[in-house]
Symmetry: C2
Subunit: 125 residues, 2 copies
Amino acid sequence: MTALSESSLNMKIGELSRRCAVSIRMLRYYEEEGLLKPRRTQSGFREYGPREEQTVERIKLLGSAGMTLATIKHFLPCIRGEGHLLEPCDELRSTLVEQIALIDQKTETLMQSRKVLERFLAEVQ
Amino acid sequence: MTALSESSLNMKIGELSRRCAVSIRMLRYYEEEGLLKPRRTQSGFREYGPREEQTVERIKLLGSAGMTLATIKHFLPCIRGEGHLLEPCDELRSTLVEQIALIDQKTETLMQSRKVLERFLAEVQ
DNA sequence: GTAAATTATGACAGCGCTGTCAGAGTCAAG
DNA sequence: CTTGACTCTGACAGCGCTGTCATAATTTAC
């Protein structure tokens, strides 16, 4: 029987992987890095529930914002619900500001690079 | 006598490093990757001239545009003078277009990330 | 009961540089 | 000739993931 339970209360890693579109490798890696702590069956298989699924979604969200797992791990406890923040944690606030500044800096670098390339391109025409 | 020749015709790696502000490690790496082929003294020391210095400058320029050394290596022969392109090489043209598209894509990703972070930040306030 | 699918752990590789360290030879100045 | 500065080669480490492979145990399906 293929496991396709809707609100899977105890998925094994394969199903969570499918549902979250995150590779099994990465799910194990999240655990390795301390972002996920699934229960285990007697035989040692990982068991994930909705809570873990939610955590993975949060990780994906923050990850898509360019945060490293280490940073995400740090602030995972500050996050709740559908991406809403829990504690008005000052540290989180300043980290967010830093991250944004970092992004702006990277963007600036990319714009510089683009200029250089455009200049080259203009010369090849 | 500290070597500070103006138009150094045969600099050793240390001087080129200073003049180009590129680490010795990287100069050797450029060579390893086939971007630079300095002469050698009898004892095996690398000797660089203005030509090599110019090459390094080009590498820096293209590198600042986000190109990998492999890509730079590929098109180094197409470049001349102060960053002016030599052969109106079609391949170079399309590579430049690709690189620009890549940059735009990265920029787009960064903007997405920024949005996510901004949204978070707004919620912490 | 047996084969196929799934899981477990651990380790190695790769991206594209970049630093650093070790061991040895070379060059310059005093 | 000795010392210190410089160079040589080769190799390992790290960034932050991410894939993959090997070996073994477990579970599932027929």
